[in-house]
Every structure is written in structure tokens, then in C-alpha cells.
């Protein structure tokens, strides 16, 4: 007879540059993933992938999360990421799920053009580029309609970014902007999805008020790790629902 313990599933959550890329409350995304695993009896180990980590550390993760940062920090990370580029590319191509916010999202594209016209080469994992026209930052509450996670869902959060990201033909947006700006102020689309990698400008942080996205990432990570279909136990998300209603009412949208 199998014991309960041998049945216990576990995930290694890789947190990319926690001390450098953690502005705008991005820590909250880690908290949410960890707790939603623990509440279901899934063991979640948070592994910090920073300046002192190597490619092997990165490849050992079952799920990756990366936040945004300020300019100085972003330069340090950009330099270090070049070393880990191949490993990161490998994980993304393998379908290891990941959530990349703001600055973390921009890194995945082909280039980033700064407000003063410098073109910085990025990792080139996703077919997209970002330009910062130096015009006003795109700031405010945002609502996005998406069908990526099975059925129609509304993502709610807060955006605050100077860069405008434009997607190439080989990747799809995360969703359609209902209220707010989105990836750029033109095409009314937000974020990007490639295999199980999700990039977005959503702060807030994104996961607490959009628990279906957190569960999607956990489910995918487990399915890839254990090679079987996973159905997650439902949790009580009543408070998240109430917090969502507050902001939906403010934006005059139905959720």
C-alpha cells in the first residue's frame, strides 16, 4: 500500500532575481503560488535564481516567476541573464510554465529601445520588441478579457509602464483590453502567450485577484513534471471575488 507521503506532489518554484526584480509588490505572486500549493497538500519549494545561480539551478525549476524592476537593477540583471540565456530558452521551449511581469516580460523580446534612443538587445525568446517613446507612462487600473485559460475570463489589475511592446506574428496576446491601455497604447491588446510562458504588464500583483491564472500555472507545472493530467482541488476564493467586484464596479464592467 502506498503511503500518503509518497503520493505527495512537489514543485520547485524558481523566483528570478528576487532581490533585484521585485518592485510593485511582485512578491505577492510568489506568496500566492506557494500558499495555493500548500493548501492543496502540494509541497512548494521557492528557489531563488539570482546572480550567484547557474544554468543548472534554472533548469531544475518546475515553474518560473519574474517581476519588474527599476533601470539600475534591470541593467545588472540584463548582463547576468545573457549567461543564462540558453537555459532559459530551453525551459521555455520545453513548456515549463512561467509568469514574466513588466521588466521581466520585456527581457523575453528581441530588443528594448530606451527613451533616449538606445537599442538594447534582449533575449529573443519571444517574437516581440519594446520601445519606450519617453511619452507619458501608462498607469491605471486595467481589465483584460482572455480565453487562454478555458472559457472567457477577465483579468483585473494595475498597470504602470513606460515601454510599449509590440508582438510579432508567431505569438498571441494574453487578451483583449476592456479598460486601460495594455501592451501599447494602440492595438488594445495586453501581454503575450507562448507555449506555457505568459508575459504581462499586470501589477497589482496579478495572481491574488486572478486565482484562475495561479491555478493554471500550478496545474501545467504539475502536468509537465508528472506526465499525467491533473485536476486541482477547488479553493475558497470568496475574498478574491469580492476584491474583484470592487475594481470591476469602479471600471464599470461586468465580471
Amino acid at each position: 500500500m502506498k503511503s500518503a507521503i509518497s503520493n505527495q506532489k512537489s514543485l520547485i518554484i524558481g523566483w528570478l532575481y528576487p532581490d533585484l526584480m521585485n518592485t510593485y509588490g511582485d512578491t505577492g505572486n510568489i506568496t500566492v503560488i506557494k500558499k495555493r500549493c500548500l493548501w492543496r497538500g502540494i509541497n512548494a519549494e521557492i528557489k531563488s535564481i539570482g546572480l550567484n545561480s547557474n544554468e543548472k539551478d534554472l533548469l531544475s525549476c518546475d515553474l518560473l516567476l519574474m517581476g519588474g524592476a527599476q533601470d539600475t537593477q534591470q541593467e545588472i540583471v540584463a548582463k547576468d541573464l545573457k549567461r543564462k540565456k540558453d537555459a532559459l530558452k530551453e525551459t521555455i521551449e520545453k513548456g515549463i510554465p512561467g509568469l514574466y511581469i513588466c521588466g521581466g516580460f520585456q527581457y523575453l523580446g528581441n530588443y528594448y529601445k530606451t527613451a533616449d534612443g538606445h537599442k538594447l538587445e534582449q533575449l529573443g525568446v519571444l517574437d516581440m520588441y519594446t520601445e519606450n517613446p519617453g511619452r507619458k507612462r501608462l498607469i491605471g487600473n486595467i481589465a483584460v478579457e482572455t480565453e487562454i485559460f478555458g472559457g472567457k475570463k477577465i483579468l483585473l489589475g494595475f498597470e504602470n509602464h513606460g515601454g510599449r511592446t509590440v508582438l510579432g506574428k508567431t505569438i498571441v496576446p494574453l487578451g483583449k483590453v476592456l479598460k486601460g491601455f495594455g501592451s501599447n497604447d494602440k492595438d488594445k491588446e495586453e501581454g503575450a502567450v507562448y507555449k506555457n510562458t505568459i508575459g504581462t504588464y499586470f501589477h497589482g500583483p496579478i495572481l491574488p485577484k486572478n486565482p484562475f491564472l495561479a491555478d493554471y500555472l500550478i496545474k501545467k507545472a504539475l502536468e509537465i513534471k508528472y506526465g499525467e493530467e491533473i485536476s486541482l482541488e477547488k479553493l475558497n476564493d470568496e475574498l478574491a471575488e469580492k476584491a474583484r467586484k470592487t475594481i470591476a464596479k469602479r471600471l464599470s464592467i461586468a465580471i
Binding site: Y24, G25, T27, G28, L51, I139, G204, P205, A243, T246
Partner: protein, 428 residues
Amino acid sequence: MLNLILILTGKLLSFISVYLNLGNGSTWPGHIALNINPDFAGEILKKSKTKIILITGTNGKTTTAKILESILEKDGKRVLTNKSGANLLNGIASSLIMEAGANGKVNKDYAIFETDESALSEVASRLTPDFLIALDLFRDQLDRYGEVDTIYKNWKSIYSDLKGKTKFILNGDDPRIAYLGMETDVDAKYFGLDEPAFKTNIPQYAADSSICPRCSHTLEFKPLYFSHIGVWECPSCGLKRPRISLNKSPSYPLEGIYNIYNTLASVLTAQELGVEKEAIEKGLIDFKPAFGRQEELNIDNRKVKLFLSKNPTGFNESLRTINSLKAGYLLIVLNDRIPDGRDISWIWDIDFENLLKTKTTINLAGDRVYDMALRLKYAGLKTLNFEDLDEAINNVLEKVSEGETLYILPTYSAMLEVRKILTGKKIL
């Protein structure tokens, strides 16, 4: 002569406006004067031989200004103060118009002005202060003030402009605040803390300058007191905390490590102004806290203590203080109006997990009550959530027995609302 005309016109406009009931005439006479002469406020203060002290930083401006005011008044000086805000220069110019006599001068020895981080460049370039106190730089209202890096760049250029004209009183324990003084080589004195007992062992995820301001290597703190504040040193390039001129005060009027820093800033400035030891000691003892900054109110023999908590660092320090006071009743009020910042993502940077070890239910209210409830749920804490602030206060106060204390942690606009409910009158 022009300024005298502006003063007289301003007084007249203000009088007409009050007489015709067009509003209280508070900032627009100043606005008009500054449009005609942008250096109006600085010139009036210089002519009056009023020494100008600017206080900037993310946390502690109001408290530092209040402590310094208390000390200078004990020294027999006349002090003009002004609250921080978006229309700071207009407000200053307007109050000068009201204060000035027929000779175009104001009868004050010192003017203490709180200046928001993002307004410092404009205000300092127009006023050319005698003293500039810089307390700290933390993330605060990223949607309104921008990221800490942007503010830092603006400060650097104004420091260079003020070099040789202004004396700087700087927090040596905030790496970037300290390095800015060192890098621009201004005439600066530093305050800092040498109390190993206040060391924190908890990782500080909301820290904004844990990297060396010169070479970007990760800094070492021996010890770290909170966020990125402590006795810092770079193991790579050797940059370290500058020489500290003051690390102790005769007494501390308020609880909390951050208030130790506010006190040190005020005392060091007073010393540099030549204030006698006795006046400093008396000023500290007679100090009365500002609105909502550990302000204590009495409601039917029950105490209510307000801890304004508007960003992660301030909030963390409020929690630490409240824990040390063994708080039994706690109400957190989270609003997201313009004075609070529209973006509330900062609540996830508050370290509830390590700083709020309690089994008692925490009461919550405010425009974003459910966002806070969600945050605390993930921290494993139990909450009672109120959509209505009046109801929250009444409900919680009913549970507090005579002689006990209710601690309230509000954001800025929530603090004004709470005070209004508690005192039964509107406070602006």
C-alpha cells in the same frame, strides 16, 4: 518694489475673495504672485533674513518638521511652517503674502518646509534653502511619484546647483541618501544609528537600495535596522557609510526606529544652527505629535492611537512598534484615492508574515478592504471586514474596555476620515 506690489495686491485679492465668499483664498494669490515673479517666495524670505530649512524624503517629513519646530520655539525663535503638497510653492507664497507687513518682510526667524521627493528640484531651485534635510528614499506611490531611480537623478542635479549655498543634513544609514552627499561633495553632516540591539534578521524584500550606489554590487549591512537602512558597506568597491556626526539624542519623543531617525535629523540640524543643549532637551520633551503620527485620542476613557501607514516601509515599522506595545485591538484602513496612491500593490510588500504574530482578529475597512483581506488571508491571519468605516470604528470601539487602546493604521485619506469620525468634525 515689484514684490511689495504683489504682496499688497495679493492681500487685497485675498480680502475680496473672502468678502465675496469666493473660497478661502488660500493658494491663488500665491499662484498669481509666482506667475509674475517666480522667485517671489525666495526673495521675500531672503529680504526678511528668514533662514529656510527644507525637509525631504519618503517617510518622516512631517514628524521631523514638528520636532525641529518644537526645539526652535523653545530656543525663543519664531517659526513659519508649511504642509507638504502638490502646490507647495503656491501655498508658501500665499502664506508669505498673508504674513508680510507693509515693509514687504515677514517677522520669522526660520521657515521649515516639507517638500515631496518629486517637488524638491523645483522648490529648492526657487528658494535656495540654508539647510536641506534628506531623510530617506523608499518606494511610495509609484504611480504618482515614479520610481526611486528617477527621483534620485533629479536630486543629484539640484544638489550640485545648491553646492556652496546650502548646508546638507543627511541620513548616513540610507546608502543612496548618503552617497548622493558624498558624490556631489556638498557641505554635509550625517546622522546615523549605532544600536546593534535594533538589528533585524528578517529578509527585507521591500528594500530599494540594497545594491551599492557606486558599483552596483550587493551591499553588506552590519547591522541592518530595517528595509535598506543600517550600517552599510560595499564588499566590492569598499564604499561605506560616511562619518556620522550624531548617533544619539537626549530623548526620543515617539516610538519606533524610524522616529529615532527623525529625532536625530532634527537634533543635528538644531546643533548646526547653534541651538543650546537645554532648548533641544526641552523641545524634545514638550513635543506634540502631528496629525495621525502616533497621535493619541481619547474616546469615552478608551484610547485610540493613530499610526499613519502609507507605504511598505512605514507600514512594516508601524507593525513592529505595535507588536512591541502588545496591541490587542487593531484596525487597518486601506484607501486608494489620489493622496494615497491609486496603486495598492504595495500591500504585498508589507511583511505581515513575520511582523504580525497574533491570534486576535484584525479589523479591516476602507475603499479596498477586500484587497487587504486577501493579503492577510495569504499571510494566514484572520480578519473581520467592514465596507463602512463608521460601522467599523463603532463596532471595534464597543469591544475595547475602559483604559484599553485601539490601534488604527490608516493610509493618508483614511487617516483624515478616521479623525473626522472620531472627533466629529472635519479636518482639512
